[in-house]
Symmetry: C2
Subunit: 161 residues, 2 copies
């Protein structure tokens, strides 16, 4: 079981957009260069984040991406689901209704215990991600990295060579 | 993100083995026929469950599979990890250290916030599965299905046509 690389990209890029001062849109190029990501492939994920209501996109030479809502109102789960979709990792094939031991349909009005257990685990996973906001992600970035990011996002000198 | 079908097979087959009366080993053929599963492919997963200490295998014409430990001591997580492995679904590629925004190595002694958040979600998922035992899975099987399974496992008539 593997999540796509896009999840890491989406979480980092959204957290970086959240570090831009008010009124500053972050270009796709800046995002791709900042993290060394392929721009065309990143574009696909950024569009998914726009469709999911995480980011807004403004066209034009000074255009780019902004958060669609305040950072404390956007969760890590929304970003993950924008990229990976909402389908649970466990897909019940109802094997209880197959083979010589097949349980008759009239005894299958309640979901199979195995799928209930897997669904609860999926809820625990999503619940954990729903409890983390973009504001929390930004707070986990060390303060000097945040300061340097802010300078980059505004086009100020960063003090780097 | 998808779990393999083997997870469903492993959970159901272990729960069925747990329903066999003491001293009765459940053959691979019975398991594959009971759930309508391809025997050769199921064999691979059953071997993984033996390696993981969930099942024991006895060779010979009356051989088959038994639980390696009491059903209340085997968790759904052990079965899942026997089939899927223990690697987390999220693989951090450390993109914070790439590109023009690369954080220098000396500032990366602590794990990246994104990977911390994803690791916590993974723990919540595995924790949920670790809280469920094979005894719980058996208890979720309706009582008349359990009775019928027991008859099949002992070779008694099941009352089915």
């Amino acid at each position: 079981m593997k999540l796509s690389q896009g999840v890491e990209w989406g979480l980092h890029c959204t957290a970086l957009v959240a570090q831009a001062p008010d009124g500053i849109a972050v270009s796709r190029r800046l995002l791709s260069e900042h993290y060394g990501l392929p721009e065309a492939y990143l574009a696909k994920h950024l569009q998914a984040l726009v469709r999911a209501g995480v980011l807004t996109a403004t066209p034009g030479p000074r255009g780019g991406f902004r958060l669609a809502r305040p950072d404390e109102q956007i969760t890590a789960l929304e970003i993950l689901e924008a990229i990976e979709g909402t389908a649970p990792a466990f897909l019940c094939q109802e094997i209880r209704q197959r083979g010589t031991g097949a349980v008759p349909p009239e005894d299958c009005t309640r979901p199979c215990g195995v799928s209930v257990v897997m669904a609860k685990a999926d809820e625990a996973w999503r619940g954990s991600l729903a409890s983390v906001t973009v504001a929390d992600l930004v707070a986990l970035v060390p303060s000097h990295t945040r300061k340097r990011n802010r300078a980059r996002l505004t086009g100020e000198p960063t003090g780097d060579r």
